[in-house]
Each structure stands twice: as structure tokens, then as C-alpha cells.
């Protein structure tokens, strides 16, 4: 469990990225922080592994105040996946995956063996192990990034817009994989995105953020869609338009679901 307790972050230039933020992130589930740029979502994520320290307030992991933990040690036990993979260009794929275990002093052979298993886990062929990151496609690089995040078998996996830079088809594939991995491995995933569809797809709990890290609404995707807290949320999730504003039309004795434009999207099952 991760807990934010009245966390505020003011940067040296005076911007308040996060203002008095409270949140409980339940274990073994995916929590998605979603919002437009400047809402503080990445700052919040980076405060969990102390890439950024809060100006005030505290963050607790399983009841332990992270301010009392050494940042480097803390980061080694929290997985981190970022946009553009952030792989080390001078290390082969297998060594990139083994980064954290090697930092933790795991013998090289053992770390590499485990890294190869992780390539299987994220659905990459082992023949890619000896390639350098730039020899891989964007989607493959992201998979390596995920494998690296999982390498030290952390309880928590932080994902910072990991699929923002890959094409829609690969993104859909990676999203499905993320759901599968989360279910199989039971990690606590904290996922940051600006894409509400992605948030609803992946999140057990979705946190919609407004400027300054203010929570506009918190709930399951169904709860949010059923009952948007205010106009901001309604507009943000698109409940008032397009493919989310669905109606039922009776056609030949069956219930056909159509969107706002009258385009059929499916048939209601009895």
C-alpha cells in the first residue's frame, strides 16, 4: 500500500506542482493517475521512489515513511518504466534487464539467467538478448523497459506514460500485456497517462487530476462513467459525447447499442 499524506511539492521556480495531496493506493491493483499535462501526475509518481522529494507532507509505503529510507536503496526495490524506454544504449538488452539485480550485487550469471526468463515473461524472443537497444523497434524497447522494471521482483511498479511514444497497434498490444502481467504477478502498479481510454482500460482505480494535483474524481472506471463528479470530469472522460454517449435502439426485436452519431457499436446480450 502506498499512502500520500498532505503532500505538497513546490519547485524552486515557485510552481506548485502538487498541493496538499492525499491518496491511498491499494496493493496488488493498478491505480492510474490521469490528467492533462501540468496536473502534477508525473511529479506524484516520481515522489514515490524519491526521484523528487516533497516540500511537505509524507509518503508511506506499507506504513513506512519513505523520507526515512535511503533514496538509492528505495529505488532499487521499486520498478520504474518510462516513456522512450530510457534503456542504456551502451548495454545489451540482457544487461539492461539485469541492471537492478546487478546493482544489488546478484552474481552476473544468475542475473543474466533471470533476465532471459524475464524476456520470456514480457513476450520477447531470447535472440534479442545480445542486441543493443537501438537495434530494436519502439515496441520491443518498451517491453525491455518493462522487463527491466520487473527484474528485481519489486512489489511496486511505477509506469510513467510508458506507451505514449509507440504506434496505436503496438500500444494496444502492450496495454493487454500490462493487464496480463499485473494479473499474473500481482504487482501494485501505479500508471501515469494523459489518455483516459488507457486509464479506464488498465485501472482498477482511476484518479482524475486537475492542475496542482487536485483530485477531480477517484473511483473505478464504471463508477466514474456512471457518475461523473462534475462537468470537468464529464468532459474529460467524454461522457457527454462520441463513443461514450451510447443509446439503445430496438431493431428487429433486438437491442442494438449506438453511439451519439447513430453508429451501431454492438448488440446488447440478454
Amino acid at each position: 500500500m502506498i499512502e500520500f499524506r498532505s503532500v505538497t511539492k513546490q519547485f524552486p521556480d515557485g510552481t506548485v506542482a502538487v498541493d496538499d495531496f492525499d491518496l491511498v493506493i491499494p496493493p496488488r491493483q493498478t491505480t492510474v493517475l490521469v490528467g492533462s499535462s501540468g496536473c502534477g501526475k508525473t511529479t506524484l509518481l516520481r515522489m514515490i521512489n524519491r526521484m523528487i522529494d516533497p516540500s511537505s507532507g509524507s509518503i508511506l509505503i506499507d506504513g513506512e515513511d519513505t523520507a526515512k529510507l535511503a533514496p538509492v536503496q528505495l529505488r532499487r526495490r521499486i520498478g520504474y518504466v518510462m516513456q522512450n524506454s530510457g534503456l542504456l544504449p551502451h548495454r545489451k538488452v540482457v544487461d539492461n534487464v539485469a541492471t537492478v539485480p546487478l546493482l544489488n550485487g546478484v552474481p552476473k550469471g544468475e542475473a543474466r539467467e533471470r533476465a532471459l526468463e524475464l524476456l520470456d515473461t514480457v513476450g520477447l524472443d531470447r535472440s534479442l538478448a545480445t542486441k543493443y537497444p537501438r537495434q530494436l523497434s519502439g515496441g520491443q524497447q518498451q517491453r525491455v523497459g518493462v522487463a527491466r522494471g520487473l527484474a528485481a521482483d519489486p512489489n511496486i511498479l511505477l509506469m510513467d506514460e510508458p506507451f505514449g511514444a509507440v504506434d496505436p497497434i503496438v500500444r494496444a498490444e502492450l496495454q493487454r500485456e500490462t493487464i496480463r502481467l499485473q494479473q499474473e504477478l500481482g504487482k501494485t502498479v501505479v500508471f501515469v497517462t494523459h489518455d483516459i481510454d488507457e486509464a479506464f482500460l488498465l485501472g482498477h482505480q482511476v484518479v482524475i487530476l486537475q492542475k496542482g494535483g487536485h483530485i477531480a474524481q477517484l473511483g473505478s472506471p464504471a463508477e466514474i462513467l456512471a457518475n461523473p463528479a462534475d462537468d470537468f470530469v464529464a468532459t474529460f472522460v467524454g461522457a457527454d459525447r462520441g463513443k461514450r454517449a451510447l443509446r439503445i435502439q430496438r431493431v428487429d426485436g433486438r437491442d442494438v447499442v449506438v453511439d451519439q452519431n447513430g453508429t451501431p457499436t454492438g448488440v446488447l446480450q440478454p
Binding site: Y80, H90, L103
Partner: protein
Amino acid sequence: MKWLESNLDLVWELMVDHVALCVPPILLGFVISIPIGWLANRYRPSRGVILVVLGLLYTIPSIPLFVFMPIVLGTPLLSPVNVVVALTIYAVALMVRTAADGLASVDRDVLQAASAMGYSSWQRFWRVELPLSGPVLLSGLRVVSASTVSLATLGVIIGVQSLGYLFTNGFQRNIPIEVVTGIVATLLIAVVFDLLLVLLGRVLLPWSRGDGRQDARRARRRTATLVAEGIS
């Protein structure tokens, strides 16, 4: 040609002296420039001043610098240390901007990721920043190498043995072949050094092959110009 046949031993001896004179400044210049380049990047406001001031060192005329060295260092007049220190100053002048640029060229995302993985700052510098600035550092080192090899010929003016001896002696005694031999031998050393550096890059930076090609081409062009200037 007769001169060359009867002086092969001398030429060889001078080449060895020349190499011995060049290697320490190249290595020292590299080692000294890295922390300075790092500091220049670390303390942004100072970056411009540090790089300009140190870069200007290259414009100090070499003969006065050689002559002043014993006075400043308190070394004997004919000591090779005078030349080594002077050449190191020029090496730093050339290298420090490349070192700063090289370290600054490392992708911010990669550094962020390295920190997020749990590299301490010290580990991150040695295992991520320094290796990743390798291709740029190498291109700078190749320029420094060429510059040092050509400048070292001037050591002879303050009585330190180098291939420059063949220039002065050849001019004084009007033996053109001796001067030409000096030029060819200097060029040969410069080319061999350059090849060794490229080879070192291939071994140490196998991941960069292909990426650094443009850097290398630019560096080679600069090298050619510098060698030509050094000889003229």
C-alpha cells in the same frame, strides 16, 4: 636519399623521443579535461567563462610558453617536463570543450532512468555518463592527438629532442631530404596515433558503431587541418 640511409638510426631515435614526448600530454589532457568539463556543466553559470578562458589557452604562442615553463615550474632549462606541461596546457585547451559537450550530450531520459533504477550519482557517472559521452570524447581526443604530435616538434627550439630537430638541422645545413623526412615521420606518428584511437573506440564503444560516423568524419577533417597547420 644518401642522408636518410646513413641517418636511419637518428630518425628512429627521434621518433621514439617524439612519441615519448606526446603520450603524456595527450593522456593528461584527457584526464584533466573530464572533471573540468563536468564542473562546467554542473555549475551552468560558470560554463561559458570556464570554456572560453581555457579555450583561449590554445592561442598562447608556443615558443614563449615553452621558454617560460622553466621559470614558472622551476624545472631545469632542458628538461622535457617543460614541453610536456606546455603541451598538456594545449591539450586541455582543446579537450575541455569537447569534454563538456560530450558529457552534456548524454540523453537526459537515460540519466533519469539510471537514477530511477538505483544508480548512485557516483555509479551513474562512471557507468553511464562517461561511457555514453565516449564517442564525442573520442572525436576530441583525436584532434588533441594530432595537435600534440605536430606541436611537439617545436620542443627542439628549447633543446628538447623531437622530430623538430630534423626541421631545424635540415634548414640550417640545407638538406631538404632531412626536412621532408621530419614531416613524413611526424605525419606517420599522427596517423598511427589516430588509428590506435579509432581502434580503441571500436573495442571500448562497440555499441556506438554507426552512430558516431558523422562525429568521426568531422573530427578527421579538423585533424587534417590541424596537422597541415602544424607543419606549415
